[in-house]
């Protein structure tokens, strides 16, 4: 399988604090890769480096087979990013948001129109086309933010705790969208601290204090740590390390 993310000995220091301590992992095309860890374990830092929002202290990384140091521009063209805060403009309408982000990624107006119609139809949001984002319910905003993040068909989409502050049913529905994207061949790189979400991923890595302590499929991890669910796996890892 094709590797879309390769990380070798990645280190990120803030002064004397080591946020990422020699990370090594690969992510394959089309998989849903869960990036788990407690708050402050260093997952957002690692993700920001892969998105080109931050530069590493040392180590190597390739995203969509482009070097994150030298080919930042190309990396950015091939990724989508959704932050914890939904990241759409509240004072613009759904269509205006789509138009703006299409422009940023250089999608032609004709393509945009066609894709937009299909997108709104699939989401059942045709009636909301000209509503301000600010007037929509949280669940809709979240779906739209994700759809906009993958509107330009990136190779990889990075989701930074996309389901924070959302109820379990809405969360489950959101994951349906993630599966659809993955079926289309888009690699999903998602950080979360909800352990039930970890079960939905193809593979998960668990970070603690800047290091990756475990990386495997949820099944294997549960076997390895003889745990009933990911919650237990996580607790055992955290305890071992301490």
């Amino acid at each position: 399988m094709e590797k879309v993310i390769e990380v070798r000995n990645l280190v990120k220091k803030f002064g004397s604090f080591v946020a990422n301590d020699h990370l090594n992992f690969d992510v394959y095309q089309g998989e849903i890769f869960g990036f788990l860890g407690a708050n402050g374990a260093g997952k957002t830092t690692a993700m920001k480096i892969l998105c080109g929002l931050s530069s590493p202290t040392s180590g190597e990384a390739k995203v969509a087979s482009f070097d994150i140091y030298k080919e930042t521009e190309k990396v950015k063209r091939n990724i989508g990013y959704m932050s914890q805060k939904f990241s759409l403009y509240e004072d613009l309408t759904v269509a205006e948001n789509i138009r703006f982000f299409s422009g940023v990624y250089g999608i032609s107006p004709a393509d945009r129109k066609e894709k937009q119609d299909k997108l709104l139809k699939d989401l059942g949001l045709e009636s909301a086309r000209d509503s301000l984002i600010g007037s929509l319910p949280l669940g809709w905003k979240q779906k739209l933010a994700f759809s906009v993040a993958i509107f330009h068909d990136p190779k990889i989409v990075f989701l930074d705790e996309p389901t924070g502050g959302v109820d379990p049913i809405t969360r489950r529905k959101f994951w349906d969208l993630i599966y659809e994207a993955s079926d289309r061949g888009i690699t999903v790189f998602v950080t979360t601290h909800y352990m039930d979400e970890a079960e939905y991923c193809n593979r998960v890595s668990i970070m603690n204090a800047g290091r990756i302590e475990a990386l495997d499929t949820p099944e294997n991890l549960k076997k390895q740590y003889s745990a009933k669910n990911m919650d237990e796996v996580f607790l055992k890892i955290a305890r071992n390390v301490d």
């Binding site: 080109g52 990724i79 805060k85 940023v104």
Partner: protein, 369 residues
């Protein structure tokens, strides 16, 4: 380029969708200017005075009519000797009482001097000072021109005061440059810093930085609309100043606009600098008001003369960009000077712009690491 135009469209939508922003940009300059120019007017017109004339001769009558015909004063009561002067003031309508001593004309012609007393209501000290100055000016003028010439008194020294560049001492001449500095600071620096930190607060900045847009494109895209709007505002303020308040533009209009452009650039870079420091809109607003608006109003020489400030504040006022801009604008508009006389101030503004941009770039890099 297409990307950039898309970005500008988005920015203008943000601006046009927000009623508060629209009000600050389009209503505030006009309201401020009209307010300072018309309502908060420190010029004296038609102040009510009372006359207590103890000699009732030709000279005192002529002086009285000179005072009234000057336009500054209207005659209220004619008082009689023995009337309670304080009572007149207490009623509140009369601002000044002019008392001519007994045998005014005679003693003037005999000794070359005579007594006139000006009693002013100094519960409003500024007005009182202006009223007494005007009145003594009118009286002295009359006495010198009409009386003393006939008397052939030797070695009279005439001090003639002329207020150059603003003969009428119109305060609006001061307000137009001051308000222009204030509005341009407000719109350029405050509005850009708020609009950039808003993107940070809402998390959209991360999305933009993770997109193919370059940081410089993002910053330019955020700043350009305000550059345009500020320029329109500068133009509006100048037009209102010229056509409604009759402030002259003696110097070159193009030069005036070029200096305004420089000042706007300075304010925009200051706005960018603030946004690199402020994590959210509230902080950006707070810094802007505290670090920009108050000093602009208090320390730039707009409201209070810099010469009268204590030394530490006088030194501090050198760091206030509006101080230099106001000097430039006044020079161009009122004195008609060119670059030869304001090159120092212009260089200072350029230097400040450069420092703000350099600091912003430095801060921006630190944040990205």
């Amino acid at each position: 380029m297409k990307q950039f135009i898309g970005f500008l469209k988005k920015e203008f939508l943000h601006i046009f969708r927000d009623p508060r922003t629209m009000m600050i940009i389009f209503l505030l300059p006009i309201v401020q200017l009209l307010l300072f120019g018309k309502v908060i007017n420190t010029d004296i017109q038609n102040s009510r005075i009372a006359i207590l004339d103890q000699s009732h001769d030709n000279t005192t009558r002529e002086i009285t009519s000179k005072l009234v015909s000057s336009g500054y004063f209207v005659l209220g009561d004619e008082l009689m000797p023995g009337d309670d002067v304080e009572d007149v003031f207490r009623k509140g309508k009369v601002k000044m009482v002019v008392t001519f001593g007994p045998e005014f004309e005679k003693s003037l012609e005999r000794d070359g001097k005579a007594d006139v007393q000006l009693l002013a209501d100094a519960s409003d000290p500024n007005t009182a000072r202006i009223l007494t100055n005007y009145a003594s000016g009118i009286i002295n003028d009359y006495v010198k021109k009409e009386k003393l010439q006939n008397l052939q008194l030797p070695n009279q020294i005439n001090t003639e005061v002329r207020m150059l560049y603003n003969e009428g001492l119109k305060s609006v001449y001061m307000f137009v440059p001051g308000i222009m500095a204030m509005i341009l600071m407000l719109i350029s620096a405050m509005m850009t810093s708020i609009s950039i930190s808003k993107e940070k607060e809402l998390g959209t900045m991360e999305v933009l930085l993770a997109s193919p847009l370059k940081p410089i494109q993002i910053v330019l895209g955020k700043v350009t609309p305000y550059l345009l709007l500020s320029f329109i505002n500068a133009l509006t303020i100048i037009l209102i100043g010229v056509f409604i308040f009759g402030v002259p533009i003696k110097g070159s209009f193009v030069f005036l606009m070029a200096e305004s452009f420089l000042f706007i650039m300075m304010a925009l870079s200051l706005g960018i600098l603030i946004s690199t420091v402020a994590p959210n809109q509230m902080v950006a607003m707070f810094i802007s008001v505290l670090a920009l608006m108050l000093p602009t109003i208090l320390l730039s020489g707009f409201m209070f003369p810099i010469e009268n400030m204590p030394l530490p504040l006088r030194i501090l006022s050198h760091a206030m960009p509006p101080r230099w801009f106001i000097v430039i604008i006044k020079n161009i508009m009122l004195k008609g000077t060119g670059i030869l006389f304001v090159w120092k101030e212009t260089l200072i503004l350029m230097f400040m712009t450069f420092v703000f941009i350099a600091l912003s770039i430095k801060n921006f890099k630190i944040r990205l690491e």
